[in-house]
């Protein structure tokens, strides 16, 4: 069928693990927009959901770090973190190995993506799923872009990865949804945790909403680190979704810094 839904959202573990420490009005504002994202996702009646995430040493380490990887299994487990710490219980999440293999075959024509037949989801996937598919009844195909251990893939390659994913989706009979999940500026799990560069975030999001290829892919990693912290490297997931949906209008449903969540909480959707 093709791509039937696309969007972006935050995934910080504090969103579920430290929810009680955020102001009620503040967190409900974010949660309400996440529920709206879920409503739109369900209205698109997808057969599978690709989650482009930026995992945090749950499966991949510096002994063999893929720049890009897609999951190719019929099921996954998560969260890998302590349930109480994350505020999300252990669960089995359905996958779709057959669809994943077909997608990978197409993407490989453009991008040397790795595949994994075993994958334990960390908060980068589980937090979005907690809001979007809390019954874990929609097959998920995880995709990872290395945003944690430099050297990192160039932003223009992340865009290209999105273009390739889109082309791969277009060639399948299934109805496929795509989300990118990451932080904008943030300094997670460092002494600067809670610091957020709101101006930088808003400028990036303006570029994301406008589909500004040059603006979104023009940051050097040194600039991103200086202005947006090491967490800012995760904009690759947003750039990927922008590449997958080039030319389509986008809507920013929510952006607000929530320091105890250690990130500017974001929800955006694409009008396909």
């Amino acid at each position: 069928m093709s791509l039937v839904f696309a969007g972006v959202c935050s995934h910080a573990p504090g969103i579920t693990g430290r929810y009680e420490r955020a102001g009620k009005a503040q967190r409900e504002g974010f949660y309400t927009r996440m529920r709206e994202m879920r409503r739109r996702l369900e209205a698109a009646r997808p057969d599978a959901l690709i989650v482009v995430a930026a995992e945090h040493f749950a499966n991949f380490f510096m002994d063999n770090m893929p720049a890009y990887c897609l999951g190719m299994a019929d099921g996954y487990e998560g969260p890998v973190e302590d349930e109480e710490w994350l505020g999300i219980g252990k669960a089995s999440i359905p996958g779709n190995a057959d669809l994943a293999e077909r997608l990978i075959g197409v993407v490989l024509e453009d991008v040397d993506v790795s595949y994994a037949q075993e994958w334990k989801f960390d908060h980068g996937v589980m937090v979005p799923l907690n809001f979007l598919t809390p019954r874990y009844d929609l097959p998920v195909i995880p995709a990872n872009i290395n945003c944690q251990g430099p050297p990192l893939t160039p932003l223009k390659r992340a865009w290209k990865f999105g273009e390739s994913l889109r082309r791969a989706c277009e060639e399948q009979p299934e109805r496929i949804a795509l989300i990118g999940t990451g932080g904008l500026s943030h300094w997670p799990c460092t002494p600067d945790s809670g610091k957020i560069n709101e101006a930088w975030d808003r400028e990036f999001l303006d570029r994301w909403v406008r589909g500004d290829y040059s603006g979104m892919t023009g940051y050097s990693d040194a600039e991103t680190y200086r202005d947006a912290g090491q967490g800012g490297f995760e904009i690759r997931t947003f750039v990927c979704v922008a590449g997958a949906t080039a030319g389509s209008p986008r809507e920013l449903l929510f952006y607000e810094p929530i320091p105890i969540f250690a990130v500017g909480c974001t929800v955006g959707v694409v009008q396909l």
């Binding site: 430290r18 945090h56 040493f57 749950a58 380490f61 510096m62 002994d63 890998v80 973190e81 302590d82 710490w85 334990k120 944690q148 251990g149 430099p150 997670p188 799990c189 460092t190 002494p191 945790s193 040194a222 680190y225 200086r226 090491q230």
Partner: protein, 100 residues
């Protein structure tokens, strides 16, 4: 200085139940499997979360080790701040990229 193996031990400890069982049963035996220097082993044993941060351990790994060692979230953040105060700026790894 073997930041890679220091992080690898913590990574495996975070993710592998068998490694965690070895950690609980005989930490010294587990440490012997990794080419760590004495300072790194001491920082792990203490644990000195602040020093591990200054040595360059990525926070995405370190926060789980701190939690395993009983640190609450705010205690973990404070331990890193104390480490920088006591030992100076981060010496290696991602956070040494452009220290401000």
């Amino acid at each position: 200085m073997s930041l890679y193996y220091l992080q690898k031990l913590i990574y495996q400890l975070n993710r592998d139940e068998h490694v965690r069982q070895r950690y609980e049963r005989d930490f010294e035996d587990l440490l012997a499997d990794y080419p760590l220097d004495d300072g790194e082993k001491t920082a792990l044993r203490e644990p000195d979360i602040g020093l591990l941060y200054v040595m360059g351990v990525n926070g995405q790994l370190l926060m789980h080790y701190a939690a395993l060692c009983g640190y609450e979230w705010d205690e973990y953040l404070q331990a890193m701040r104390d480490g920088v105060e006591r030992y100076g700026p981060v010496r290696s790894g991602l956070y040494a990229m452009t220290e401000t």
